[in-house]
Structures are given as structure tokens and as C-alpha cells.
Symmetry: C2
Subunit: 246 residues, 2 copies
């Protein structure tokens, strides 16, 4: 399985993906599920995925090849983020349909993937899209500033509680890392390292990104402090329901 | 959907179930999914369910009828909790198979339910069972002191973090209520009121139980204090990953 999350805030965007893939519990591997595209000063994009790894890798490869081979339509030439999301959706549909046809089962869900695409093109606002296995997509809004893919439920409460469109980037980043911590603690199919990209709106620079592993000092510091804070908060809760439940 | 959780601790057991059922988002109702059985001073049992409501209600009804009509084998006559769990499993299989046969689809998952059964019979240790749709069951141990049914993922991290076999009943109760709070905030298909039963081991009394609604003062107090504590903990986390991520 997989856990990916992406947040679009007033001041920036944050993208994070785990790297664990599994075909059964005895076949676990580490694969990157987050890729970055862009042209310094002109455009910046991050593409994340969950689902069938063969489909996802084929999509990443085709999109990258189109850039390398300077196809007329590629992620570096599309005019809008929406066009980019459409391009990802079409590419995915093509690959999924091909795999379904070869398998002789046009309705098989085995070969499907989902994607999230976020970024900014010069002169346009930053945008974040969720691209469904059917190839269509929805856009994040101020009301709904984050999307998740894969094993999303364990890590949703902390994001629901603490991330709004106005939230500062550094605070949303903390909430996002804690969302990964909760997921990794509760579900074996999601694992470290985590690929992370933080983008500051209108900078149009390509962030270096970061791979967070078990040794990461910041991640370990905040997950420890978070655990400690939760323990302390629990301890301070009123002890006796009997005082209330007469 | 449904959210049920049950915890077996060194000193007691806690059972909680939400009451929302839905067949589509425009068909939402309130149904009890937790029932209590027992004989004061002799045995105490709680049965909880998630899944097909018709199957679940039929199981509850049959088990209750067997008690009322003084069948030879009923929940008030079985010798062990394990026998009780087997009885629930067999009753459920019978009802599910009947519904599948009438529908003409012996593999249909539409009619399946799951159950949790916990309690104590005089002279025996307290036990907690998870009963699968297939009719077989597993028992909670010191290593795995709690079970969940239904929409379990949102509320699992808080239990994973704070409930062990040695945990005091009052602290586990708080964690359980917060687990419900997280689930209800993040998933519309789980809703108040919550049916709650707290049992103190070896008391062999039948607890009155409690229905917690939106107005419940204790629940609101701890969910507010929890939110406040989380906010405060988040605020105190080290702000700048830059200090760590050179």
C-alpha cells in the first residue's frame, strides 16, 4: 500500500509520499512515488501516485520521456496545471487500458493507479489536483486544502484538526509529518523513508526536496515531542466520569 | 457504516459502539449495535456488531429469544465465553447462509456481519472475542488488548499509542472516547450517540451502561481539552526544520 498527502496553503504547498510497496507481506520493496518536474523561474510541478506500481512507473516514464524527447505536448510545455492534470489522466488511461486488454479483462481494477499533481506555472496561481483512476480530476480549494492517496484514514484526523488554507507552511508541515507518523505506527504497509517537497508560492524555484529516513533528527524530535504531548494531555484529562455521569 | 471498539484490561473491560447506520447518505438511521446479557453475580456479556443490519438484528433477536424461551443452549447457559462466541458465530452463519440462498448468491458479502463478544463467567477469567463473518473467532490477549469493528482506521492511532493491557480503566476509557471523537470528526458514516459499557473484572455485576449523546458533559469536556492539548502541543513543536536539515 502507500500513503501520500499534498497540501495547498495560502503561502505554499507541501507534498509527501512514503516509499513502501508490497505484493504480499513477504514481498516488500522501496520505490519512489513522488517525482518533481519544472523549469527554474517558469514552472514547478510534483506528481505523486498510489496504486499499481507498474502502471504508475509507466506513467512517470512516459511523461519524462516526452520531456526528454521534446514532444510538442509535455509537462514542460502545457499552458496550465489543469492541462497537465489532463495529460497525466490520459497517459494513465492509455496504460491501464492496454494492461486490461492484454489481461483480457476490461473492467479489472488490478491495473489502476491514482495521482496527485500540484505546482505552479508563472503568472498563474498554485494549484493541486487529484487525478482518479478514471482519468478525470478535481482541484483543491480553500475549503478543502489537502488531498490524500492510499492508506489515508489513520492520518486524516490530525490533518482535519489542524490544517486549513490559512495555516502557516511550517505548522502544516509538522501536522503532515505527524500524519505520516500515525499511519506508519498503525499500518505495516506504509513505511519510511518519506519523500518530502516544500514549495513557497510564487518562488518558482525547484526545491531540492528531502528524503526523511528513520535517522532524521527533526522527524524524530517532533514525533517524540508529539507522543510526549499527547501522553501529558491524556494525563491531564478529568479522571472521573462519575463526577459528570451521576 | 459503524465504529465499535472493545478493550480487555488487567482490571476491567470497556465496550463502545456508535449508533449510526446508513444505506446511502440520504438514508441514515440510529440503531443500537451493542447488547448486554447476563445474570447478576454469575455471568456478564456484551455483544457488539458491524455489517449488515438485518443479519445483525436477526442474530440479536435469535440469541435473546433463546434466553427468553429457555432453550437448552443459550447465552445464559453456555459453560464458557468461548462457547458463547461459537454460538454467536453459528447463529450468524445460519442467518447469512439463509439470506444468501434466498438471493441466489452463495458468495454474496452483502449479508455478512462481524461481532465482538466480551464478558466474564463466574470462576473464569474475563475474555474478549472477535467473531468473523465466516463464524470463527479470535481472542484478545495481553499483547493485543483491544479489537475494533467497522470504520476502525481513524481511531486506531490513539488506541495504539495509549492502550496497553496494564493501562488503568479510566485512562483507557478516555482514549476510547477520543478514538470515537476522531472517527466521528473524519467520517460522516459514524455518528452519535455512543453506547458505552464499563465492566470491572470479577465484579460480576451487570453495569447500567450509558448512552453518550452530543450534550454529554464529560465527553464534551475531554474532547475540548484534548483538542486544546493537541493545539498546544503542535504549537510547542520546534518550528524550523532548517535548524536540523542543513
Amino acid at each position: 500500500m502507500t500513503y501520500c498527502a499534498a497540501i495547498r496553503l495560502k503561502d505554499g504547498m507541501i507534498f509527501a509520499s512514503d516509499t513502501r510497496t508490497n505484493a504480499g507481506v513477504d514481498h516488500i520493496s522501496t520505490f519512489r512515488k513522488l517525482y518533481q518536474y519544472g523549469i527554474e523561474g517558469e514552472r514547478f510541478m510534483v506528481l505523486q501516485t498510489a496504486g499499481n506500481l507498474a502502471t504508475s512507473q509507466a506513467v512517470f516514464t512516459k511523461l519524462q520521456n516526452a520531456i526528454n524527447q521534446r514532444h510538442e505536448h509535455n509537462l514542460h510545455t502545457v499552458l496550465t496545471l489543469f492541462d497537465a492534470a489532463q495529460m497525466v489522466g490520459e497517459c494513465m488511461r492509455e496504460i491501464t487500458t492496454q494492461a486490461q486488454n492484454i489481461a483480457g479483462d476490461s473492467n479489472s481494477g488490478t491495473f489502476t493507479s491514482s495521482f496527485m499533481l500540484g505546482g505552479q506555472i508563472k503568472g498563474q496561481p498554485p494549484e493541486l489536483y487529484m487525478i482518479y483512476p478514471e482519468g478525470n480530476c478535481i482541484r483543491a480549494t480553500q475549503d478543502t486544502p489537502f488531498f490524500q492517496l492510499g492508506e489515508s484514514k489513520y492520518g486524516k484526523p490530525i490533518l482535519d484538526r489542524s490544517v486549513q488554507y490559512q495555516t502557516e507552511v511550517r505548522h502544516a508541515l509538522q501536522a503532515l509529518l505527524l500524519s505520516f507518523d500515525s499511519t506508519i505506527r498503525s499500518n505495516l504497509s506504509v513505511g519510511m523513508p518519506i519523500d518530502l517537497v516544500v514549495y513557497h508560492n510564487d518562488s518558482l524555484t525547484l526545491p531540492t526536496g528531502r528524503r526523511i529516513d528513520e535517522e532524521d533528527e527533526y522527524f524524530n524530535h517532533i514525533r517524540q515531542q508529539w507522543s510526549e504531548g499527547l501522553r501529558q494531555t491524556l494525563k491531564e484529562l478529568p479522571d472521573s466520569p462519575e463526577d459528570y455521569w451521576q
